[in-house]
């Protein structure tokens, strides 16, 4: 059996960082007057999306390799893309940046897993 990653490696830390940044941005836009989206459903929705991304990152981090982790990686990736799209329509430009970081984090996570896996085989 291949090793999923090195124990203790925070593979998803960049995902969490991106999603946390997105959460901060989206809360600011929801709560601050004159953002154009203050108190709106859409602005609330991306807050929820960022929370889910953070949770997803933890699930990926702690789930064993296999289908479940793959599904969550897919969902986090999809969620980040769709949240970025929502951010575009909400004019939350910094949230798009945050989602780009999240996606980069996902790539990093995948790369880390592959590296660890390759290393184990070697």
């Amino acid at each position: 059996m291949s090793q999923s990653s090195r124990p203790g490696t925070a593979r998803t830390i960049v995902i969490v960082a991106g999603a946390l940044g997105g959460l901060a941005v989206s809360i600011y836009n929801y709560a601050t007057p004159l953002t154009g989206v203050e108190g709106t459903f859409g602005a609330g929705l991306v807050i929820l999306a960022c929370v889910l991304l953070i949770l997803g990152a933890f699930v990926i981090q702690f789930s064993p390799p296999g289908i479940l982790r793959g599904i969550f990686r897919f969902l986090v990736g999809l969620g980040a893309v769709l949240t970025a799209l929502a951010a575009y329509f909400l004019h939350e430009w910094w949230l798009i940046v945050a989602m780009a970081i999240t996606l980069a984090g996902l790539a990093f996570d995948i790369a880390q897993s592959r590296t660890a896996s390759s290393g184990a085989i070697a």
Binding site: G36, T40, F41, T83, A84, F89, L90
Partner: protein, 773 residues
């Protein structure tokens, strides 16, 4: 009209509806006009030829007026001046109307009208109403012209002042400021220097109805005055926003005639001969939902005790005919010299018989009635109603004229109770300021059964056409037509042609259909109402074909397709939410450029026989989209053409800003304005936004405007239409901005008050911008 929800695209984790709330864009016109007739108040009445025969203004029933009849049974068509439609010569108008340009067009052999002239209905009505037999087009009021012209005093149309003293800036309704400190080059540096929150707002979630604040700030007396939807006046320092004083009318905050607590600001008057040491030589006025007009000293905020009864005039005292509901004075009075001219608003779509429309002129200091003007012929006043003036009027003091934008009669979508001619309904009517007598009148919709209220003050402008200086007036409309006439005489500047329009499909009992309607040949319509709007494919896709299905089930033969009981009803484009609303047209007198914002909105109307209506709605009421038209044989529904997600079924753009060269009537440029928004999600600016509110223009070559769903204030280059600046506000700006100068600095002020017609957002913000020091 109802809320228009325009949700858009389902994206990402969410769907993106953008809500265009179409509430009653007609602002619930209802009026009442009593004939108060105090000794000092002559009551001028309808007349076909008031100018040449002032005595005739004592309530001449149009159908009984011989000159309303035409001896020619089949109107000849005239040369086709506009692309699609044959032109029908205006039935021979009253004698002064011989110069009607449309009638001067060479005739063609085009059939008089492809629409069946409803002879049966006409003859029935004629016998029933004792209509003059020669009048083969009852319901089609002829133009009432003043071909003799009118002498002008030396009061200029465009005042030299930089004050912003009324809802539309000045009496001419040009919304023009001669200030040029802020220019195309530096407007990008504009910054908010202060804002003020009144605290007078409600989103409707509590005990209070929601607020709708369609006000323009007034700058006069070195003070900025605002009125609020809680019926308070607040006086502010124009440079800092510091409150100087406030006055509370203590009016009950109940939406007696409207779906919301509404206010359109305040009016300002000052004495030309102020008495030293006396109060109320400068006065600010505010009206209330229960039709109390308050007068307050502009310096101190104290009530003017000599005005009305201890500082307030009870306008509702004149509500004595068909008083189904009280008057509301939401629009501040129009100030014209020593006159306060006021109309009123009321409940829309509720009743067939309603208070009849009337306009009152009262003394600015005492509220004594000077004259009143009734819009409905006496003979039918009790069987119909409204045709009131619920928005601002415009004034040319040089000609001593006040211009009334008159709404449609009741009920709005069935006219079987009012088949006679009602010449002043849905018209622009010019009255003599001193007497209230009609000088000229032009009816823009004959026998209006679409609620096409004339809803904005006509813009007065001096223009040069073919080398000739013309004292003109431009009347914007819900239909998207811009009618341009000579404001002295009422005659066309560019031909306005009577063209045949569709008759009914036979499903509506008792209805009469005007065989022709007036179409301006220039400027071109702001939107194409001749063709059924195209379905927006994205909305259709998201709606799984529901948009196509809906459009297929809606009849449409052009804008004047009558309401029906068949199928889903009749498609209306535009209807009461579309075209131009009360912001009206701005005009730059230097470049002779007119600027107007317009909305493209598709709705559909269906009539229900009374029994069907009651079954449909569970009884007459104000259910979503359904209105009873109580007293009429038909209730009605008015819906917005949406898919299941609330996305508009018609192709964008949903709103545009248009500039017109008034020397030739051509469009200089036009572009989508603003972004539609729902649930926070913005749609691309290329799609535009429906608009409520209007522009202001400045000598600095700029257009300032809010008006869009995205609640932004914007500045555009007047010459090119390029957007140069914007800023986010709390809620849509649903009136015109104000431009003023204080202590050498130019300011632009926007009231961000919201209106449920656009989206469910309310605001209490006054934001003021200037260049940095």
């Amino acid at each position: 009209m109802r809320q228009l929800s325009l949700p858009l695209v389902a994206i990402a984790l969410a769907t993106l509806p953008f809500g265009l709330n179409a509430q009653d864009a007609s602002e619930a016109p209802t009026s009442t006009e009593t004939t108060p007739a105090p000794e000092t108040a002559p009551v001028p009445e309808a007349s076909e030829t008031p100018e040449t025969n002032p005595e005739a203004t004592t309530e001449t029933a149009p159908e009984a007026t011989p000159d309303a009849a035409t001896e020619d049974p089949a109107p000849e068509t005239t040369q086709e001046a506009a692309p699609d439609e044959p032109v029908v010569e205006e039935p021979a108008p009253a004698e002064p109307a011989t110069e009607e340009p449309a009638t001067e067009e060479p005739a063609t052999e085009e059939p008089a009208t492809e629409q069946p002239v409803p002879e049966e209905a006409a003859t029935e009505e004629q016998s029933a109403e004792d209509t003059t037999p020669e009048d083969i087009y009852p319901g089609v009021a002829d133009p009432i012209l003043n071909t003799a012209g009118r002498s002008r005093s030396d009061i200029p149309l465009v005042p030299g002042t930089t004050d912003w003293t009324s809802f539309h800036g000045q009496g001419n309704a040009q919304k023009y400021s001669p200030l040029d400190q802020i220019t195309v080059e530096n407007v990008g540096d504009l910054e908010k220097v202060w804002d003020f929150h009144t605290g007078d707002l409600s989103d409707g979630s509590g005990d209070l109805a929601e607020t709708v604040w369609s006000a323009t700030p007034i700058f006069a007396n070195d003070t900025l005055y605002i009125g609020t939807p809680f019926y308070r006046i607040i006086a502010l320092d124009p440079g800092t926003g510091e409150e100087k004083w406030s006055f509370d009318t203590d009016s009950a905050l109940e939406p007696l005639t409207q779906p919301a607590l509404k206010n359109r600001g305040v009016a300002y008057w000052e004495s030309p001969d102020p008495v030293e040491g006396e109060a109320c030589q400068k006065i600010v006025y505010i009206g209330t939902m229960d039709a109390q007009l308050f007068a307050v000293d502009a310096d101190t905020g104290e009530a003017c005790e000599d005005f009305g009864n201890g500082g307030a005039l009870d306008v509702n005292q004149w509500n004595t005919v068909n008083d189904r509901f009280p008057f509301s004075v939401l629009q501040p009075p129009t100030v014209a010299g020593n006159h306060l001219v006021l109309g009123w608003a009321g409940s829309d779509w509720e009743y067939a018989e309603a208070p009849p429309g009337a306009v009152f002129s009262v003394d600015p200091q005492t509220a004594e009635l000077q004259w009143s003007f009734e819009t409905l012929p006496e003979e039918i006043r009790r069987q119909t109603g409204t045709a009131n003036v619920w928005t601002h009027m415009s004034v040319d003091e040089g000609l001593n004229l006040v211009y009334l934008p008159v709404a449609s009669p009741s009920p709005n979508y069935w006219g079987g109770n009012r088949t006679q001619e009602i010449p002043y309904a849905t018209s622009t009517t010019a009255l003599d300021l001193d007497t209230g007598e009609v000088v000229w009148s032009r009816q823009w919709v004959h026998h209006d059964i679409w609620d096409y209220d004339i809803n904005s003050a006509p813009t007065l402008m001096d223009i040069t056409v073919d080398g000739e200086e013309i004292p003109a007036l431009m009347q914007a409309t819900k239909m998207g037509f811009l009618f341009v006439v000579n404001r002295e005489t009422g005659e066309d500047v560019w031909p306005i042609e009577e063209r045949p329009v569709p008759g009914g499909d036979g499903t509506i009992d008792g209805e009469y259909y005007a065989p022709t309607q007036p179409f301006p040949t220039k400027p071109a319509p702001l939107l194409d109402q001749a063709e059924k709007p195209e379905v927006w494919k994205i909305a259709d896709l998201v709606g799984l074909g529901s948009c196509t299905e809906l459009f297929d089930n809606l009849s449409y033969e052009g804008m004047y397709s009558p309401p029906t009981t068949k199928g889903e009803g009749v498609l209306t484009y535009p209807d009461s939410a579309g075209g131009v609303q009360w912001g009206g047209v701005a005009f730059d007198p230097e470049t002779q450029t007119a600027v107007v914002n317009t909305s493209h909105i598709v709705q559909y109307i269906k009539l229900f026989a009374r029994e069907d209506y009651d079954n449909q709605t569970g009884g007459s009421g104000n259910e979503s989209g359904f209105y009873p038209q109580e007293g009429a044989p038909y209730g009605m529904s008015l819906m917005n053409a949406m898919n299941w997600l609330g996305m508009p079924c018609w192709k964008p753009p949903f709103g545009e800003l248009v500039a017109l060269d008034m020397t030739n009537g051509d469009v200089k440029w036009r572009k989508p304005i603003g972004m539609s928004q729902s649930m926070g999600f913005f749609m691309p600016e290329s799609m535009g936004s429906p608009t409520i509110g209007g522009p202001a223009v400045t000598k600095g070559g700029l257009i300032f405007i809010g008006a869009t769903m995205d609640a932004r204030a914007r500045a555009y280059d007047l010459q090119t239409g390029e957007e140069l600046w914007s800023d986010q506000l709390e809620a849509p700006v649903v009136a015109n901005p104000a431009v003023y100068e204080y202590r050498g600095k130019q300011y632009v002020a926007f009231i961000s008050g919201g209106n449920s017609i656009l989206k469910p957002a309310v605001g209490d913000q006054l934001a003021v911008y200037a260049l940095p020091d």
